[in-house]
């Protein structure tokens, strides 16, 4: 799908909690086909400290309504500025960017594992898997109750399992400590979250010989493969997070 640069309208800005919000965007022209794992490069207006665009995963797409959702965590000045956008405001984005999660072979047992703002691409991925006949389980990890992001939408995709580090909800500990990993046998794990979580999941997968894809974060200059600022060290040498990724098979990564 050809990349494009476009100004979309904000149709909704829904605050989930202190740190998270969802922007719904709608375009005048038909939005392009997107694949789960792809991202958009967002231009931030009116934020003096924010010079470059910011990469944000596609959280959800509704082709019928011609809308697109981004789930964003306030991490600094740029995302803070985005959190103040109002319906009617305009957001300039470059999209769709990056590769995508691969479709599993028929009949495979799939787990989606995510934490923090890393759950963003998993909704779109889950819906995509469902529409292709899979019934993924979903395992979400959060620091504590306060940090939990509403996950009702995920329940429509499959069974949702929860961990919190302090045990205030769900199982106590990290996602890799959740008992479901012992009781269920997964053929594939798709993971997105903080680096330590992805590394733990990658290690678990490797030990148990499970196919595992992660969506990496990295600082980005351009998002389109032009600047080579987003290098990630792989068995095939330095690759670009933005065009060769953000989704990588963990066996390719030199972690």
């Amino acid at each position: 799908m050809a990349k494009r640069i476009e100004s979309l309208n904000i149709t909704e800005n829904k605050r989930l909690n202190k740190d998270f919000f969802i922007l719904e965007l709608s375009g005048k022209s038909k939005i392009p086909d997107m694949k789960p794992g792809q991202f958009v490069q967002v231009k931030i207006e009116g934020s003096p400290g924010t010079f470059l665009r910011r990469p944000i995963s596609v959280h959800d797409v509704n082709y019928g309504q011609n809308t697109l959702k981004l789930l964003i965590q306030i991490a600094g000045k740029g995302t803070e500025t985005l959190s103040r956008l109002q319906p009617g405001d305009i957001l300039n984005i470059i999209y769709p960017l990056g590769n995508s999660f691969s479709l599993p072979p028929e009949g495979q047992n799939v787990l989606l594992a995510g934490g923090g703002c890393g759950i963003a691409p998993l909704l779109f991925l889950g819906k995509y898997l469902r529409s292709n006949g899979f019934q993924p389980d979903i395992l979400l990890g959060f620091r504590n109750t306060e940090r939990i992001i509403e996950f009702n939408d995920y329940k429509e995709i499959g069974k949702v399992f929860l961990t919190t580090e302090d045990g205030s909800q769900g199982e106590k500990g990290f996602v890799t400590q959740h008992p479901v990993l012992a009781t269920s046998k997964y053929d594939r794990i798709y993971c997105c979250g903080p680096d330590p979580m992805m590394k733990a999941v990658a290690e678990y997968s490797s030990k148990n010989n499970i196919f595992c894809e992660v969506s990496l974060e990295n600082l980005m200059g351009c998002g389109i493969g032009a600047c080579l600022c987003c290098a990630v060290d792989t068995v095939r040498g330095n690759l670009c997070t933005c065009v060769d990724g953000p989704v990588f098979n963990t066996k390719d990564l030199k972690w």
């Binding site: 010079f51 290098a231 060290d233």
Partner: protein, 305 residues
Amino acid sequence: MVKLDFKIGDLHFKNPVLTASGTFGYGLEFDDFLDVSRLGGIVVKGITLEPREGNPSPRMAETPSGMLNAVGLQNKGIDYFEKNIYPDLALYKTNVIVNINGSYIDDYITLAGRIGKLKKISAIELNISCPNVRMGGMAFGTNEKSAREVTRAVRAVYQGKLIVKLSPNVTNIVDFARIAEEEGADSVSLINTLLGMSVDVKTMKPALSTITGGLSGPAIKPVALRMVWQVARALTIPVIGMGGIMNADDAIEFFLAGASAVQVGTASFIDPQASVKILEGIESYLVEKGFSDIRELIGLLNKVH
């Protein structure tokens, strides 16, 4: 219709808007966003003889109105370039310029020789900001002796147009520009990035894996413009200006200061269409101000002062 073309020697450019090396990939990355052939030319990313893996992550940091990079010339080397990239580049209907880099003078000589055989490549941009390994790691471009040697060596083996890209990290950039002219360069381009640094106070670590890196973007525009102005007054060969050009007004500042052409760098990251928008903006400005040829604008500041 305003006249926008310019020449380096007998090499014709349909307009004076080029893209800067390392910020426009091989042009191909931008095909979805614009018709690359509309530009006066593109300078492709820095190439070396052997493949280079570049520096470890993190390779960039954002700074006030700018960015630091420490890419470290990651590229697949000249062999790969000739075989896999050149054929695509040859289809563009504009000037394609190759930015060459090396650690030894011999690297530059070999590279220039190989590029000289590629018909479609209009010119070489000789990047002398690389550390000169034989001279103890000081960049070729910050030492007059090695700047002269490398320019002379490349000039001797390369018949095409030779553009020497100057480093701003020097006391007097005019000295280096003069050396380039004396050694037969057809043009100089400036500025490359300013050497800068950034620290992450949360982690108390340098923001870049290499600690220091190259500063680009609007932050450096005043320095770039000053250097272009100084160099344009001192040389007779055409000067290509760059450094923080984000829009047509920025580009026009460079023309007024004496640049014959401009390169758009970091701007393409924020808006991949920046280069063509700048081209269109320059045209409108000329029409509005009643100029019929961009040459009337070039160095106007020097004429007045």
